[in-house]
Symmetry: D2
Subunit: 392 residues, 4 copies
């Protein structure tokens, strides 16, 4: 295994939730070591948060960090420049930070959704293309071994042509007006200025879209959306129900265009983080739930359903390589997240060795941009009287 890459982080200080997840994910396999941070948009809090963590290089703002790190030498020495930056701020800061670090030639791991709108997204895609850097978006659920297994099974034709996908992301934590209680996560997620045009559809619906695409390779061609706000005064949707038309995979010839249903809700009381995807092909179907991530149901036309489980030799190598423990020793959220980081590290190491990977196994800036276009299409559809709204 190569020595760990040096990582900086923007956002993720005191009171943040996802910052600590990124830190554990980055270090779980010793692929990254966190050496620098501008952990808050508040400079005092940024420095205090870095002290909490014992970070060697604490910066008051991401601009200070960018400038100071650029001034450092490139290389493997402890004092050399960071290789990559993790961006774990609220959404509205993704674009400026990601663009600046990318242009500086630094690799980026950016939280989802990618940014606020498709203009920003396109700009980032172009910036990454120009810079030739690695840019991963932490659609972390694609990191689960059995998601990779599902993808492999679809690709090798175990299901036949896909007819239908049902993907749902059921949460209940915003069933009350939590944003008025001062809860920080609820506060910015319900604020269009910091979240973008989508509420539930942006925060979790984009995960659902990404999972659908990652497993099936299908694109959402058109959407028909019904968005609701069940809390008086809430400014963004907290419940999204969307019909989908999917662009069939090359080579597929189903008798009808593949259909989809996407549900993303944050007001379904008592549901925790219930992301589930069901994929129905001509010959078999798959069923996976994030809350039971080591299991994958396979249901063929003939014969009984079987329950594929992480860690067994019968799995595809993509799933095998993403697994750390034997069967029945459960892996979970952190490990899946770490798989995104590990894949980004692989790509960075390969790039440094001038042997770029043919097929990096993490969500890219283009996945992020496609997600933004999906969110925008859903929001447009919700405001439209027409049944179908095209994506892009």
């Amino acid at each position: 295994m190569p020595p760990p890459l040096k990582l900086g982080m923007v956002g993720g200080g005191r009171d943040a939730f996802i910052g600590a997840v990124h830190r554990r994910a980055a270090s779980l396999d010793s692929r990254f070591v966190l050496v620098a941070g501008a952990l808050s948009s508040n400079p005092d809090k940024a420095l205090a948060s870095a002290r909490d963590l014992g970070l060697p290089r604490a910066y008051p703002t991401w601009k200070h960090m960018l400038e100071a790190e650029r001034a450092r030498p490139v290389g493997d020495a402890p004092e050399s420049r960071i290789d990559a930056v993790s961006i774990v701020t609220p959404n509205h800061e993704h674009h400026p930070v990601a663009r600046a670090f990318t242009e500086a030639g630094l690799h980026v791991i950016c939280d989802k959704p990618l940014c606020l709108d498709s203009a920003q997204a396109d700009d980032l895609v172009r910036a990454v293309d120009r810079a030739g850097t690695v840019f991963a978006v932490t659609y972390n659920y694609t990191g689960y071994p059995l998601v990779k297994q599902a993808r492999a099974m679809v690709r090798r034709g175990d299901l036949g042509p896909i007819r239908k996908v049902v993907v749902e992301y059921n949460q209940g934590w915003l069933a009350t007006a939590l944003e008025r209680s001062g809860q920080k996560q609820a506060d910015w997620r319900t604020d269009p200025a910091r979240s973008g045009a989508g509420g539930a559809i942006g925060d979790i619906g984009s995960h659902a879209e990404n999972l659908l695409h990652a497993i099936t390779g299908l694109h959402v061609r058109a959407v028909c959306a019904d968005l609701a706000r069940f809390i008086a005064g809430r400014r963004l949707d907290d419940d999204a129900n969307v019909l989908l038309r999917l662009a069939p995979a090359a080579g597929a010839a189903p008798d009808a265009e593949p259909r989809g249903v996407l549900i993303a809700s944050q007001v379904e009381v008592g549901h925790e983080n219930d992301l589930r995807i069901r994929i129905h092909g001509e010959r078999a179907s798959l069923d996976w739930r994030q809350e039971d991530p080591d299991s994958l149901w396979f249901r063929p036309l003939d014969g009984p359903a079987s329950l594929l489980r992480r860690g067994h030799p019968y799995l595809h190598e993509d799933a095998a390589q993403a697994s750390r423990l034997p069967p029945g020793h459960p892996e979970a959220f952190i490990e899946a997240f770490a798989n995104v980081y590990a894949a980004a590290a692989d790509a960075i190491v390969a790039l440094r060795a001038a042997t770029p990977l043919a097929a990096p196994d993490f969500p890219t800036v283009r996945d992020g941009a496609r997600g933004i276009r999906f969110i925008e299409a859903v929001v447009r559809s919700a405001d439209s009287d027409a049944k179908w709204t095209s994506v892009e």
Copy 2:
């Protein structure tokens, strides 16, 4: 317990599936005894089928049965007239048979969906109103004790105002062109002349709509439907995905109109008879699955989820009365079906005693008519470019 009522049956002979279910359901609690039948539209088969069952009174056609039974005396003697008729034919025969027996003053238990279109449905509603007879539609899933429990919990406000309902009916048995194999069930269900305008949406989507209404009391106000036919040459939909707008219950004041999602599919490979409903209110949610019918999840805002189980003293009396066995001695499909028959018997007995029931606990002809309008609206919506299509 009163002596069993005398029952005749139309349809349900050799090769039929649902006829035997009705017979077992009718007799399970000794509320009905089957004494007469015109069990097929083919007179020879009708008579042979009756012989198979040892029926005392075998008729070649339902018209013969109607005429002969009308000529018999009313009363409790073995030779007296049947009290009620079960109609278990394909859908296109429901209307003429039901109308004729209703006009003759006989009570009717009719399979679902009620008939072919809303003109027939309205005609039946008027006929029943004129005749003053009992008319039950075997939306059998409402017979499950924990469905009655769910209804009671919604009614007494355990969930608060309803925000959202997700009801899905997942099957896979029509994932291939089974109708071309000579399989009788597949044959008539994919034929518009015998099934009506709806395929999956009629056969099972109407169950889903009925379950939604039975538990929540909400009406589907408007639909936005995407229907597919995944088998080349199939004439009716085999996959239906529908967004719903629901008319809020009286007294409810949610911050947004209640939403719904309805999925009905017969091409989801490996799914058996997976009817599931999730009801999300402001304060709690419910989750029930037909394939595990003795269980009902209740998830409140505060505190852990609880799993309500049939047979316990903590259940509402509606659920208690619909139950026969102690907890853990599972009841299932036949018992739920029998509960519809038992409720119809209660209503008939009460009517004979000139003390009609205030609130008969079975799906009525009006439920049947509402179901037909729902099917029609979905089919209209599927052909429309407008997002929303009103029901009625």
Copy 3:
């Protein structure tokens, strides 16, 4: 299908639980029609209970019934003698009633456990051998289709030689001193004079032993038992934990004698009727739970676990024949019970046609006697300081 057989019933009147189960099970498939009954040991209650049910022939005692029925002609006419009697009394009445009816040449369906002790059991075996009659014991759980499937899979070697069986029957309804509340079921089940030497081990442990034997064909050779009474003053065990040594099936050559663990408890709070059996062979294992009876897990050495479900064409014909409804239309307790009755009816009909069945598919008087010996061995073992106590 042959015309229904005429059935009498002893016990099962007002306040009884299992009587109604037997009646529904007997009539579910129209294999029996109940025409006579001595439904209580209290003559007044017996007659009143028969009136409740509208029974054509009500008797004050079983002796009256036996005498009167013997006097009737044999044959198919409505007034002819009953073909069989169901014995659904508390255990202490099983032997005298079963013996008398058997000696009179009547077929018997008797509830479990067979009787009070092995002397009675042997006497019944001899009586049945002399009379040549059908004698079924309602170890009803063997009637489940997927229990028959498990048996077929063991027989055809899908598991290889059996190494270990874990069978548990978890209940909680006697976790308090319910017998002191006047609850009738608790009252006689905790009374040695009416129940026999076993409490939980007799009432439900014998079901567990029977299930083990029915599926695997293995005999319990020796037991090591720990019985407890957790309620002050209770006279019979309410919790039984037993190690088993099993006699290997012919042809099997495991490297060690097959082992077993049997748990039967009625004080495990919150457990309803949780009978579960796990069978571990050299090459695969099976797992079945009564509370989810339409499912059977099969876990092979190589490859993923599969979930066998009732109603599919991939099942063995023994399972297919015991099934009435398509997959996903759940069958349950009553249907399994009815399968015991149906198999007894098959045997009676065959005997009347002088073509006795080679392999009747119901628990016989010998199964009942083996069960009694098992209960006695467990009770002896519980009182012994030696580790192992032989059965018989």
Copy 4:
């Protein structure tokens, strides 16, 4: 949070399984940083393994490590002495290594079971008492938040006095003669010289005993064991079935001595790592499964069962403090393991601050010694004709 402690490791090099688990667990919360290692009993492999990991201080043997580290200064500087050592060798090396490091005043985290026999165990207890050091045994399953929740519920009396515990640890990975294939884990685990007297009972049965004690506080007073070896030539048990008598908790007054059943098997084909514990009290029961670790069933005498889930505010603070992620973002094996490390770190930090913790929340050397006595008693019992064998 205090700065990370410096950790050394003995064992856990190339080909090892548990070493990587310890490393991830130690570093997950930045409570330890691994700086030194003697990672194999083969000096070349030890050095190569340390190189693989980029360890700053690589030693050929643990004796070299001990000597060299003792020579370093105590303190917080990067070059100062390690604070603690993790021992992750096969069992036979636990005692000499643990004793030597303890005597040198270093804190120890030792894998389970503690050592080979009770003489070694007692020696270690005395050594730890003399040294006054922290000594944690990685019975990692006690680290799960919902195990701590279960313990808290028993302690505060939610279940009433405990009547019965059923703990089972079902695995299938040794169902074939894997040890003859060169698989390293199977090789030493089936070798008495390296594993001790117990096979399955030692490797996983001791986890089960520990879990029972950790949650309930009950001691196993006596055992009645049946051990089997299902593979020809295998030298240690691969299947253990044990009846338990438990010493009632102080203050409890059940009507009978608490009972237990313990199953530990490595030949149950298709079972992965299925550790489950059910605890039955007078008023309620608990049910927890390691393969679904974020869930805990609570079943009270009255009212429905509830499903407690990690991350909710209704949980006890012991469970809350052991949790890192919100509900539905699953935590698993590594996090539970890390909780043992974190608790040991807390104790070490407190000791260095001369404010030792009143109630350290990790399994101690005394828990380890009790486990060894349990294993020895089971092995003695298996060889005995007497039903009960006392522990100690």
